[in-house]
Symmetry: D2
Subunit: 349 residues, 4 copies
């Protein structure tokens, strides 16, 4: 029997970390050999996460690059922005393959990183080296990579929704407005008044309008596709639910396209990509239809009255928007079948 690839997860006590643990249970070629937490080293994971009792009984390890290199072949860094910037260079220096889930290596321009993230940027060489792991678009680069920067949750939903039309030249790059909505798990497990149940429940709220740090990441990828700088209007909003993102994207059409033409364009673009599903005409996806799964579902409304196209794109922010896409990147990077460990049918209802 073939030896499994050994993976370590840094940030195992965050929501991204435990989701990696959940999904990797069913991965036939990878096994978790270390779960790591800077804050809880030595404790049992099940103390904070009783749902993992009997699933992952390994005690938490501390953060130590050298030890990781002994225990693992690949590291998932499910660490906060700012932390990855310091840790990942050490991991790469140890010869580890790295999939980083933070935002630290997504922007190619360090100055832009510092402007939006308010942290010192990682070394330019590493920003250059990191491959932006949007599998359905940049999968060919991922296959050659040893260091992957996993896309953010909002960018994943937005980019998968916009890129085929933008690449086809069907929409005006100067007209893009994205009205995005997220479940609360996207804010992480840290405590604050902003995630207090009584403040969120029965409430819909907008935050960080045009200020969210995912904006430059989206503009960078759209700009590469469009071949020109792209500037977007981007609204982020919190939905009283735990999981799910919907990006409702608006654009001016550059021709008189109808819905079916968009559907055909997208189905063609995503041919052979198992995790993007295009809805038929007059049907739009809902976040629950992808909950717990690695799918991104997309639907369209083309309005001849205004000449605008509305594109609705949904994902589970913790799966396709984080842990699931990270595993998809692992699979591509290792030359495995893209779907390994990702056979998680949406949990409905």
């Amino acid at each position: 029997m073939e030896r499994k690839t050994r993976v370590a997860i840094v940030g195992s006590t965050g929501y991204g970390g435990v989701e990696l643990i959940r999904l990797l249970q069913n991965h036939p070629k990878a096994e978790i050999t270390s779960v790591i937490s800077s804050s809880s080293a030595g404790a049992a994971l099940e103390e904070g996460f009783p749902h993992l009792t009997g699933v992952m009984d390994r005690p938490l390890d501390g953060v130590n690059a050298e030890e990781m290199a002994q225990r693992a072949d690949v590291v998932f860094a499910a660490t906060p922005s700012g932390v990855s910037a310091k840790l990942v260079p050490e991991l790469l220096a140890e010869g580890l393959k790295v999939i980083d889930l933070s935002g630290d290596f997504r922007l190619k321009d360090g100055a832009e990183y510092e402007q939006w993230y308010k942290h010192p940027a990682p070394p330019a060489k590493l920003l250059e080296q990191a491959v932006y792991g949007l599998c359905e678009v940049f999968g060919d680069r991922v296959k050659e990579a040893g260091f992957i920067s996993n896309p953010g949750c909002y960018p994943t939903a937005t980019l998968l929704g916009l890129i085929p039309a933008l690449q086809a030249g069907w929409i005006d790059p100067g007209s893009l407005i994205i009205d995005a909505k997220s479940g609360v798990s996207g804010a992480g497990r840290g405590t604050s008044l902003q995630v207090h149940y009584a403040e969120i429940n029965e409430n819909f709220k907008a935050y960080k309008l045009n200020k969210h740090q995912h904006i430059p990441e989206i503009e960078q990828a759209l700009g590469e596709i469009a071949g020109e700088p792209v500037t977007i209007t981007f609204t982020t909003q919190l939905v009283p639910m735990t999981r799910g993102i919907m990006a409702t994207c608006y654009a001016k059409m550059k021709g008189n396209y109808n819905e079916q033409e968009f559907i055909d364009l997208y189905r063609n673009y995503y041919t052979g990509r198992p995790y993007v599903r295009i809805r038929g005409a007059g049907i739009w996806p809902a976040t629950k239809e992808v909950a717990g799964s690695n799918y991104c579902d997309i639907g369209f409304a083309a309005d001849p009255r205004t000449g605008r196209i509305t594109i609705v794109s949904v994902i589970d922010n913790l799966v396709k928007g984080a842990a699931g896409q990270a595993i998809q990147n692992l699979n591509l990077m290792m030359g495995w079948e893209e779907t390994l460990g990702l056979g998680c049918t949406p949990v409905y209802p």
Copy 2:
């Protein structure tokens, strides 16, 4: 002591009806003399609504215009579209003042009504006669009226958010995109898979993109303000919560305005209007901040990068979007103080 004005409520077993009953409990000049339901006549209201036990113990009356004329001075018609079209002419013929909460008398153009509502339009004369009761904008007309068509929930949030800027000429009428979200009570109390708890909970879904029957109502009012036809892109979405609407409105600015200028413009426009509150710069309202109350709260994000303004407008769909605004219309129509019976502070959390 002055005799109170007698009001009847048709459609007392719908959500709009019971909200009228809740709010009118504290009205000093109006008293409910008849609660009416076509489906449940003779039954006690508390059978279907135990929360009203001891609050409104009157048995439900049947729908009879002549009886209403004997029992009441004013009728609130909280009836579905199509039903009001038939009932209201009878009520007016009896000499009753009418505040209609359905969509049947909101459009001036009967042909447009039939296109969007799929019912035969009411008589053109009545469409003409009905005053569109958006109090903060058309309050002067309401004061002269005896027959008021109460605005829809989506239009109320949208119009209060857009009109001051549109009237000032600060935004391009051809650029308007409204991304609207509503709690589930907006769908009414009828049963269907679409409002099944397990289908809605932990779910965010889009529906009727560019097809919602509130679109022509919004375009009609915006067109009147702009002095030219206005066509909008309008997305409706269901939030897993019971009450609340947010209209996130996007427009191209016709000048280089900043947030504070918008704030000042709106505060000036709404001076003396107690139910519109304008947030300060960098703050946006959340739906819970108006829950159970008659407020419409508005905030802004002006983006110099794109030249667009984002306007966030929230209401409680059952209060400012239905029963509360109906009572506000009653007050204006009767020449009373605008705030009578509406001292319902938001219920928070």
Copy 3:
């Protein structure tokens, strides 16, 4: 015009405090003359609570007993346990009437207080002086009082549900089991993992089984009614909702009573008490039926198979379980009509 009674609210930035502010807006004989917060003195209340913009624009005062005595006649202390123990003696020394919403003065036995609350007990003399303000049971004492200890949320629902049957001798005091459920606002506005939205949503959890500090308060009142010590089994559980408590109470019947007999007994006991409503046979109250209101609704299931009675009692934890009952106590203490300021019909749905 009669001068209104001036009231101050200490703890105005907690959920109990803002609920007092909401309800007192409609009180005809009381006016808020000071809103007080130890942590936010000097700030505007609307900074933390935008829903109060235009409702309560007064800046927050600091905690100073002497100043309160100048500004107010009555103080509501909506302060945490431990804080009231220190503050209330100062307020009483200034000659203020006090209604304390903390648990500090509910137990007559200081030793028991220290055992359950883990704080030093207030002076025995004050524990003796404090009148336990369960209005429907001890209202006569409240009318004579100047210092009231407002009952806890769980005790209010439980005691109103059990006392009539216990006093009538229909149930065995040694058989009492209370399975209680609460919305999350009962935990207050402080932040912790326990109230993180993503941990609470889609979750039902038990906590502090047989250890909740409300247990001795319930046992003390039941013991007084029964004329003998009463020991209960008490389970507290968190429901994924903001407001509402249900106490499901189980007892062995001491005779062969049916539901209608219980209904009659309770309706008789609560005759003339506007805030307790007894459901008919085969109907049980739900928490939403009292949301936002001062009602306690009660229903019964008598089981001849087991000889047990199940009593279901619901309240809004922030109204009847806190701010509403505090105002009801104010009304009784001042000799006013019991219902002043409490005309808040349940908000449904």
Copy 4:
């Protein structure tokens, strides 16, 4: 390669049916060869369940026992009570193995069935033949069976929580009170006011007190274990969440046991059973900790003050309470490893 066992699912458009489809995707020895619906035969499953697009694209078959016998080896009947009673005899006559998820074959006494279910009972011979598939208790019988009656959701949580203590003689069978709470998916996908989102959200309600049809099923199994008739007090309550059941069970202890003794007793009883997890002292399970998984988690509170034990037992009603346990029964019946297809780690948060 071994041929997979072919399974058919009747009732594929209910929540139990789609959950079977989800879980069986990852079963290495079973494959779905027919998805069946009486109401939607011929339609694509994804029309009603877009989340299954690309997962199960097979069109729905009609209900026909003969065809099932050609297509499948085993049938899961996820059909309503009353329907199974008629269908299952036909399936057995065709020589099919059957796992029935309805309540029709759970009671051995036909008269009792008719009293609680209000349908005519199935033939006594089949009631006798059906093996009650509570795997951890009656697994040995399941291994010999060809026709299994899958336990109800409330009974599964309740029985796994009570049986070890009852069998050990540690608790008084005459003292049992179960306060049970369920998410809304337990009510099925049918529409009614009872499952309307706006009526359920922010609401906790009791229903069918002492009248739920799962009561005799629980009493039958407890009676067999106790060796004497057992009568319970049983409360069912609806929690505003989609999935999850908590059974909070109360019993008089027959000795002076502490929590750790209960923990040891239960860990011993469930040794080797992978789907029951016993929490440590002072910790109780929450429903989210088993969401989407086949686990039943149990915790204890022994109260020396009252001599009572409180046992908290949680499951996902659609997995361990329906589809998951059905697959566990399939595995045992077929002589396979108990865990096949059930490697679904709880989805958290």
